[in-house]
């Protein structure tokens, strides 16, 4: 039983930026494999390091700026050496760096993203993103269903 941590983040009042949170909220209502934890966050914060450091795999779910609106992608997250991290703007990579700095290692992680069309103030997803949301969730769930190795991560990249 893999311990998987899923973190969906975004601003629910900036239209398509909410897609990560919306996905995480739907995942919370979906039957998931035992050992899966789901977090809904407005932004990534250092206190997530505690949950992440015990995970076997970490999945970040977020909107992406750029790319074709509605396109779903999956990419590995690499922790990087940072010069001056600003805790208001933690990225998946900087959060994994924090975990690595605290524990010496960090679990494999990757980001599943959905390209947004509109990031203006608003509490609704754009039509194209709303239509693509089920595909985003399906991809996350399919990853959870597979035996988890780094090859699995690479195959979804």
């Amino acid at each position: 039983m893999a311990h998987v941590v899923i973190v969906g983040c975004g601003n629910p009042f900036c239209s398509d930026d909410a897609v990560g949170i919306r996905a995480a909220q739907q995942l919370l209502e979906t039957p998931l494999p035992p050992g899966t934890e789901v977090f809904c966050r407005h932004q990534l914060t250092p206190d997530l390091a505690d949950a992440i450091q015990n995970a076997e795999v970490v999945v970040f779910v977020d909107a992406a700026r750029g790319g074709t609106p509605g396109e779903v992608r999956c990419a590995p997250v690499h922790s990087t050496k940072l010069a001056a991290p600003f805790t208001h703007e933690l990225t998946p990579a900087s959060l994994m760096s924090l975990v690595a700095a605290l524990d010496g290692i960090s679990p494999p992680a990757f980001e599943v993203s959905l390209s947004g069309e509109c990031f203006r103030l608003g509490d609704e997803l754009s039509t194209v993103v709303a239509q693509a949301l089920p595909s985003l969730i399906e991809l996350v769930v399919s990853i959870l269903d597979e035996p988890f190795t780094l090859d699995t991560v690479r195959s979804h990249s």
Partner: protein
Amino acid sequence: MQRITIDPVSRIEGHAKITIHLDDSGHVAGTEFHVTQVRGFEKFTEGRPFYEMPGITSRICGICPISHLLASAKACDAIMAVRIPPAAARLRELAHCAQMVQSHALSFFYLSSTDLLLGMDSDPATRNVLGVIAAHPEMARDGIELRKFGLQIIENLAQERVHPSWIVPGGVATALSTAVRDKILTDLPNAKAIADRTIRFFKKAIAGYKEEIEFFGSAPSLYAGLVDRKGNLQFYDGGLRFRSAAGEIVEDQIPADEYANWIGEASLRDSYLKAPYFKTVGFPTGVYRVGPLARINTANQCGTPNADAEFKEFHERFGAPAHSSFLYHYARLVEIIHALEKIESLLSDPHILEKHVRATAGVNSLEGIGMIEAPRGTLIHHYKVNEDGGITWANLIVATGHNNLAMGRSIQQVSEHFIDGTNLKEGMLNRVSAVVRAYDPCLSCSTHALGEIALHVQLLSSNGEVLDEILHPETS
């Protein structure tokens, strides 16, 4: 004349700039503290139904939304003229104590510990949270754990950790379950252990900061904070007390609806932050401080055993009142211990599990004022409504605003002592920022319009000569 600008001031909440003017011999001639953002909640909430105000004003801040929810809800309670159920009062206080823990942990561990652990003169490239993790991993882990403890209580009570909609006019939205209560009690010993070892660490480390203690905003001032009828420190309820620099109680048990008899507000030309002052003394000399240091100075004791032991040691070591703003860090740690003890005592109270948690009523008063102690100091929400409950006027006096004059004075003192304009070093400027950090200002919270915004615009030549200027309004 030369000018040094620190822009932005780092590791604070919100946006600010400091200007330091040097004379021809490189000595500090003057300083200015500019808060460079305006939020305007007092104006754009006009017309909204009063019961929306907790939800709207919680959006003022992402660190201390609970504070605004509580002060706003109390103002709404007054408009409804209700007394909230006992369980609701305890639950609100529980959320408030949890917020104290997480907010103070954020200030100490995330914002200020880099200076305290790595040194004020350490390399700016590593004077950040990763530098702390590399040099003091256990301290970094403790900071993350302690903040998480406070945030999880809020999330377990309110289902959201930022901008929750659980604190409402008349009480709270849902009751506490035994499962949540027991989970908090299970996690509490670890949080208390972290608080205890952090304050022990700090009490040793403070020996290395004698110069900062002497020159970091150490000018005496009035102090203000809420206390109960026995003079115990109060976060959620109580009357406002002012204590003089010499330690005398100047005014005591001021109820929320009389704050305006004692606190005036002035606009400053070089900042969007208002400047509250003690009316009896007047502006600008009626400087008073709020927040952890002021609360520890104002109260007779905390009212919980471990915190009282720390309270006693604090004053034996630094006087009663203690004046150095550097000691805000120490006072913050005492308050974390007090908040954790309060959490334990609230959860042990059987009333807290009662199911009746909300009183309901319509508009029964056309004015309501809510006053609490936010992590950064006294917070006041004052609303006037029409008979339909629409907001006609709102005034927010936010903790950091109370400290505006004191912060300005502290910046002047630190600049005059530490800055040598003939041999400027980065550590000198970091100390100027560090004195602001000691107050743990929440500048996003504190900037709201007071009628017209005062403005002073100068056109300067390349050598600093004033070519033209506009003052608005024309008289101060």
